[in-house]
């Protein structure tokens, strides 16, 4: 055991206990193994914690938002009374269009529900039905004027109050003065429910309507379209510009102080708080160029500014990861610089570039702050139809709804968040799929 170890310089003997298998060595091994176990435990704990947060987030949002996908409808037997709608009997669309449908609704309610005498009672009865019912009836009459004079059962949108009550958002057992819904209204509701006149259906309004002050009439379609137009502008500008900039910097630009400076600045830009881009957009695009406020065009321009550094950095990384031997091979064959890039480097770097672009886009999709600065935070009911119409975007819509006092907006906020998350997941999945597809070619 004590045989000396010969080195070039002489003889060196490691003490018995420090050799492999010696006492000191065994203690060292024990400590080392313990350290390794500890480290693994930290890792698992960190992972568990983040998973816990994620699960909490999803559970809360889904728990809050799931109910928003269903909406309460009430069946009323509506008498399309001719004297209200068309007193002169000409069936003139103009007359029909401007008729007082509110009266029609009131009459219907009066006939349908007991105990509706007096203004206060009638107003309470009216509170069961969404104001959208007026428009719904008008649309029916305009579509089919023959309805006038007839009585038809019609499913109308219930008010947010009713919806919330039936979904359990309002506690019936509270004293009347502490809840928004009155005892009389509850009585009517029970009666309607007993007659089978209350039904919950898929909330198509949420996906087709624009914003509204009335929760039951508010939808995200306007915001989705706003986001879509904004993203089209962002993608159309940031991807080509970013990729071109990255290719120039990585493949063509000489390495000198200027390019170093540019590189540092691009990296810094990626770290600039996004609201600064909003200020820039406000100053440059709106105040100086005179582009319209609240427009997806300006939003897209601002988000382009914000996304560009991300895309440039990702694209450069993708270009750097292309082995230099490929460039050498192409140059050695007598390919020009441009041919080398377009024939060999770009195809290999493209998956990485696309991934970077999509990740940049999904960041842009979730961005709120800079858009607040350029007026995309406005309350806009109409669904935008172009790049210059007034619009808002999904995250801003979420912000607006989260800010609204009505109880029914809580579930809609969560529902909108779910939709936004769905888009994000879809985009990230697309990034992964694209990368896999392109990389699998060889």
């Amino acid at each position: 055991m004590n045989k000396p170890t010969t080195t070039a310089r002489g003889v060196y003997t490691i003490p018995e206990e420090r050799r492999i298998g010696g006492k000191a060595h065994l203690a060292l091994v024990t400590r080392r193994n313990a350290a390794e176990r500890r480290f693994r435990a930290y890792g698992i704990a960190a992972l568990g914690l983040s998973l816990l947060f994620l699960v909490t987030l999803f559970v809360t949002i889904i728990g809050n938002g799931a109910s928003a996908f269903r909406q309460t409808y009430v069946k009323l037997d509506v008498n399309f009374a001719a004297d209200v709608l068309d007193p002169d009997g000409k069936r003139d669309p103009a007359t029909l269009g401007s008729a007082n449908y509110l009266t029609l609704v009131r009459n219907t309610l009066r006939s349908q529900l007991p105990d509706t005498e007096g203004r206060a009672a009638l107003r309470e009865a009216q509170g069961l039905i969404s104001s959208a019912a007026n428009y719904q009836l008008r649309e029916m009459v305009l579509a089919d004027p023959l309805l006038v004079g007839q009585t038809r059962p019609v499913w109308v949108l219930a008010s947010a109050l009713v919806d919330a009550t039936l979904k359990g958002g309002i506690d019936r057992n509270l004293p009347e003065s502490d809840r928004k819904i009155s005892d009389r209204q509850l009585g009517w509701l029970d009666k309607l429910a007993a007659e089978g006149r209350i039904e919950r259906r898929f909330n198509s309004v949420l996906f087709t309507a624009g914003d509204s002050r009335e929760p039951e009439q508010a939808g995200i379609w306007g915001a989705v379209m706003g986001s879509f137009y904004t993203m089209v502008v962002t993608l159309a500008l940031s991807f080509p510009i970013g990729v071109a900039a990255a290719i120039y910097l990585e493949e063509f630009a000489p390495r000198n102080r200027w390019t170093d400076l540019i590189e540092v600045n691009i990296n810094n830009l990626a770290a600039v708080p996004s609201i600064v881009y909003g200020l820039l957009g406000l100053a440059v695009f709106i105040n100086w160029f005179g582009l319209p406020r609240s427009a997806p065009l300006v939003g897209g321009l601002v988000l382009t500014l914000m996304t560009l550094p991300v895309i440039i950095i990702a694209s450069r990384a993708a270009l750097t990861s292309v082995p230099p031997s490929i460039r050498e091979a192409a140059l050695g064959m007598g390919a020009s610089k441009m041919q080398t890039v377009t024939h060999h480097v770009l195809p290999l770097a493209l998956p990485g570039m696309l991934t970077g672009a999509i990740i940049g886009m999904s960041r842009a999709l979730g961005e709120t702050a800079p858009l607040l600065m350029i007026g995309m935070v406005a309350f806009i009911v109409d669904v935008p139809t172009g790049f210059t119409s007034h619009a808002t975007v999904l995250p801003v819509q979420i912000y607006l709804w989260a800010d609204s006092p009505e109880r029914a907006f809580v579930e809609r906020t969560s529902a909108a968040i779910l939709v936004l998350l769905g888009f994000m997941v879809a985009m990230n999945a697309l990034a992964v799929i694209l990368r896999k597809r392109f990389e699998r070619r060889w």
Binding site: P254, A329, A330, M333, G334, Q339, W442
Partner: protein, 296 residues
């Protein structure tokens, strides 16, 4: 008794080395003194390429010092020398691959068939088609075997029809001794071949544009002995049509494939000579020290 006899004779202990008047001025840790002149057969009768007093600087570093050498027609010339001696750098001057490196300056004159390749009006793209290159690591394009070989003829517009291109690809692959191994899978990726096959694919790619000179930068350093032997045999066959310059770390390889050998040392071209002479009786002490393994 026998040892007693041997002891009568004082044994000369110094290593046996050729004694040459100019050797003694040399210390191997330092570059050759100013005005050092390369020993041996620097020039040939019918040069394909000629380098005259070539200097290369990388920033402040003087990487190649006053190198003068001819590359003969249909000749295999090997560049040997320790790492960092400038042999690869010099090789890359011959088809201006150094142009792509920032801060690299080349002075002196290099001619191909008597024309200066660093002349202003010379198209470097055309030069690289005439002076092909094979790299240390096999670097086929991530495309099919066919496309790898067809790339050069395509970008240089050397073929006018698909059938012509197919013939050319077959010729190049046959010349590179790869045709029989890949003819049934021409449209599979070139990166799927073995290392030796990849390197032969790279050689096929290089000869597809019918260059006049092929530069090989340690073409076998990543290959096993069998693949190496195939490449060496290939080099010997290609000599009939091309001039070949090969940089190698393996002295045995230089000895096996080349007709002339040039020894570089810290940027100086120390000695050039017939390969037989370099490996049996090198003139310069540094060459001798390197080839016999006395560098420590």
């Amino acid at each position: 008794m026998n040892t007693a006899i041997a002891q009568q004779r004082a044994i000369h202990q110094e290593p046996v080395m050729a004694a040459h008047p100019q050797d003694l001025a040399f210390n191997a840790t330092e570059p050759a003194p100013e005005g050092h002149r390369t020993v041996g057969l620097v020039t040939v009768d019918n040069p394909k390429m000629s380098a005259r007093d070539v200097n290369v600087h990388y920033g402040d570093k003087h990487a190649i010092k006053h190198v003068t050498i001819d590359i003969g027609t249909n000749e295999v010339i090997a560049f040997i020398g320790p790492s960092g001696c400038g042999k690869s750098t010099f090789l890359r001057c011959l088809n201006r691959m150094n142009d792509t490196i920032d801060g690299c300056r080349v002075s002196g004159e290099i001619t191909l068939d008597g024309h200066d390749i660093y002349a202003r009006d010379l198209d470097v793209v055309q030069l690289r088609a005439r002076v092909g290159m094979v790299f240390q690591k096999p670097n086929p394009f991530p495309k099919s075997i066919f496309d790898n070989v067809a790339y050069g003829p395509r970008i240089h517009g050397m073929v006018s029809s698909k059938s012509e291109l197919e013939d050319l690809v077959q010729w190049a692959l046959e010349k590179a001794g790869l045709w029989n191994e890949v003819k049934d899978r021409l449209h599979q990726p070139g990166t799927g071949l073995s290392g030796g096959q990849q390197q032969r694919l790279c050689i096929a790619r290089a000869i597809s544009v019918s260059p006049e000179v092929i530069l090989m930068d340690e073409p076998c350093s990543a290959l096993d002995p069998i693949a190496t032997a195939k490449i060496e045999e290939l080099i010997d066959e290609l000599r009939a049509n091309f001039s070949i310059v090969i940089v190698t770390h393996s002295m045995q390889q230089a000895a096996r494939v080349s007709q002339r050998t040039a020894y570089f040392h810290l940027g100086d071209l120390i000695e050039v000579g017939e390969t037989e002479q370099i490996f049996t009786n090198p003139v310069h002490k540094l060459t001798e020290g390197y080839i016999t393994g006395r560098f420590g």
